[in-house]
Symmetry: D2
Subunit: 285 residues, 4 copies
């Protein structure tokens, strides 16, 4: 391995950057990118570092991780994740009946624009199976009713574990995820909500936006938490509308926003540029 990405946070203290960069420097790593942020309100320090070890022929990640945690990590109570940027994470796709987001995710993935592996697609409806087939990705139809919800989630969980899924994207999956399933993927379930959150949470946001007479509509991608549509926001974008736009126009314009916003969030997440703290995200560029 030649490249290493480190994403860390810890209580804010003097000398963190100096010590961490020193350590990397002494271990023959060349820092090719560093970005950091301090939440002054909560006195938390966040840092993302891209290191190049090509000068270090005998580099071992395990050894480096161990040494780092023993020394700097312990001293500053650093919580640090280590990633090999060459290894794409495994993403499961949950859908229902809307096809605009899944088409975009699969097309972009197929075009090599989204660095993930997509082992399977799961849906509570059979409608979109043809799209999965078109892109040659296994499709599992797991119906969900009030009565079968628990059992359905057990089946979903089996799949998620069998395929060693790293994170889940809800590409307009119209079911509420239970706290049990969320607990298995904390800040690892990405949803696209078709409104400018916190405006219009819940069902039928385009109808609500149209009735309210807003002049701008939006879409929001966020991590799923127990409270509906209240998780950490990763990305948002908007489009202008006017009285000339009918409800159907809101929906069409909005669906293009949804595709764009979800894709950006997925790219940022898969590049491990998103850190979550205190129900907010730090998104490094």
């Amino acid at each position: 391995m030649k490249n290493l990405n480190m994403v860390m946070h810890c209580p804010d203290q003097k000398g963190i950057i100096a010590n961490v960069t020193n350590f990397i420097h002494e271990n023959k790593g060349n820092i090719i990118y560093i970005d950091q942020y301090v939440d002054r309100v909560h006195a938390i320090f966040f840092m993302r570092i891209e290191v190049d070890f090509k000068g270090h022929l005998s580099f071992s990640l395990d050894q480096f991780r161990g040494d780092f945690n023993k020394s700097v990590g312990t001293r500053f109570a650093l919580n640090c994740d280590f990633f090999d940027p060459k290894i794409p994470p495994k993403m499961a796709v949950f859908v229902s009946k809307h096809d605009h987001c899944i088409y975009d995710v699969l097309s972009q993935h197929h075009a090599g624009k989204l660095a993930v592996k997509i082992p399977f697609i799961v849906s509570n409806h059979p409608d979109l199976k043809h799209i999965a087939q078109r892109f040659e990705i296994p499709f599992y139809h797991i119906p969900v009713t009030a009565a079968t919800k628990k059992e359905a989630e057990r089946e979903q969980l089996k799949l998620l574990e069998a395929y060693q899924i790293d994170f889940i994207v809800l590409a307009r999956y119209m079911q509420i995820i239970s706290p049990e399933l969320i607990a298995h993927f904390p800040n690892k379930i990405i949803n696209i909500h078709h409104s400018f959150l916190p405006a219009f949470p819940g069902a039928k946001p385009y109808h609500s936006a149209y009735d309210r007479g807003v002049k701008i509509i939006g879409a929001t991608s966020h991590y799923v938490t127990e409270e509906l549509d209240a998780g950490p926001i990763i990305e948002q974008d908007i489009a202008r509308v006017s009285h000339l736009h009918q409800l159907q126009d809101f929906i069409e314009i909005g669906q293009d926003l949804e595709r764009l916003v979800l894709l950006r969030a997925l790219k940022q997440h898969t590049q491990r540029k998103v850190m979550v703290y205190n129900n907010k995200t730090i998104v490094f560029i």
Copy 2:
């Protein structure tokens, strides 16, 4: 008078445009601009027309209005307002302590960019009197407390009537307007709210937006109705923020949005391009 603006609405029916334009045509008027909109959900027809009568040397507005209402107006149950675009409306400015919006309104007015007359400024605090003086506009300090609120509004109303005010702008006026006062100026009180409504209504929206971790903040100008921050939206705009922006950045970026959005709304209102129906606005360009 050479120019006339007509703003009308009525139940949607066949032949309205033909009959109205015919009538104007037969009365020696040349239509230089026409814009119309049909709310299909409620079957309401809206139209704004700019007419040039310079070919009609003996034109009389009263006569034309009378003839129009008698014929086309009655036939289609048209509710029509007639304006002379040359006569600027009279606008009262309500402020409290924030000065960014009033500075912008007075500067733009002074620069001839805002076609209104500003007979006076009223505030529940004396702080901004120096700005009124700088722009040579009468400033009335009417303190408002829970106890004196009713009396204070009576004083305000006296001023509004004495100066024959056409509409009011709340340039960050931090008091709730009573239903009584609103009743005197239905859809004629314009407020600027420092959030992307309906997100973050009420107090301290920047704090709420910062705590929620949104990636985009906004400002909204709307007509004041009895329900707080729920009136017809005239204009909105947004700006991107990131985790790098502190609460103070939200406020600074937002205040520039407030200025811009309020000014646009004031221009659209003063040009009589805004029509209100069903708690929504139709804003003709």
Copy 3:
């Protein structure tokens, strides 16, 4: 046929709207949407009308067109097109090696979001054949070199005529279209240019934008005319960038813009909401 769309323009004169709407009214048509615009600089009148004839059981388009042209059409020198909104136009897709736009066009078309027929895809390279196959659309590989360009366009023209193509989309087709071919499809060839025109026309706009240090990048969809990247602009959009974005980021962010902007332009064109005059577009909503 129950619905008819009429798109017309003529020298601006008094009474056009009245006479046209009258004529439709007298012919048992109910105007469900009308939008018009006057280019005052050139005194040209433009109008788009959606008419519902369901009250008119024996309606005949040919008869109506004939009667309309004989009476109102002749009187006002109206140039009017008549469309049945139920009949989607036939669109040919030209591509080279970039796949992001074609993926989006085909996905959206397949999802029923783009009301066109796509009889074939043509490319000067074989690279994207697999995408055409994935969406089961005939793919023609017509190589183009300086030497074979004329012959290649003859082949393209044969295809365009054989399939009775209504308009062409250049979904990142990296060849200049000859005046001969353009002459066959005046204002019927839609290109997506990966910059905010007129900034950065020609090749490698992202490189130029990166070198210039712009803070905002854009994409532009326009009709192809003889002068490169100078045709009538249909739609544009932008995205913010900063010094943190490398050239590769410009390209990735930009390609998402290209997809969005091209799709919007295609929707507007296929709904016949775009009128061209004096190298500018009138785009009715």
Copy 4:
């Protein structure tokens, strides 16, 4: 002095951050904000640091600067500027006849939103003297003609030196600045251009944008260099327009953009968050 801002750049090398932060750390400084950027194409390292020395009772800037330059500065060939954030820079305002930008700059300055001192305003026309008087700022009328241009700039330079001006804002000053004057203020003359550069440089950009039929207009604030409208871009923003907007609408919408974009650029510059390299800006948030 309790706070110090350091803005530095140097050839990119290993260990810069570690050594600089170490040095500050060892000198009893607490880093409250750090932002850095590496231009990989040119291998240049940029960093902005905010340091708090309140723990260091006997802190001396001169001593610190000297020690820093001797040790870390020399070692990494660092070019570093040291600022006391408490001392606002002195800004001269150049105007001609347009008043929207100067009104905004003076209003915002007066409202305490722009941390500069404004010792004087200079203009080649007397028209805006009343605004200077309204805000009680000295106004110098220095006419400029082809014949007197050199002499006029000598007078301007005298004023700039007499008032020890740090930087100049051209708030719609319609004269070209000579290379001689630019040489006195390299990257210290901020201009607002009323187009989305590099589109429509030079005169009458709104007219050109209107004629070209763009769907989005913009404004650009940049540092003045010898090549007209080609200097490093600090900030840009845009607004959507349509065929419904006449030339006068382009101008009105655009002037609000100009005010907003210029103000943002001035805030970023006065906070020393802008670094210039290779005719591009690095703008730290």
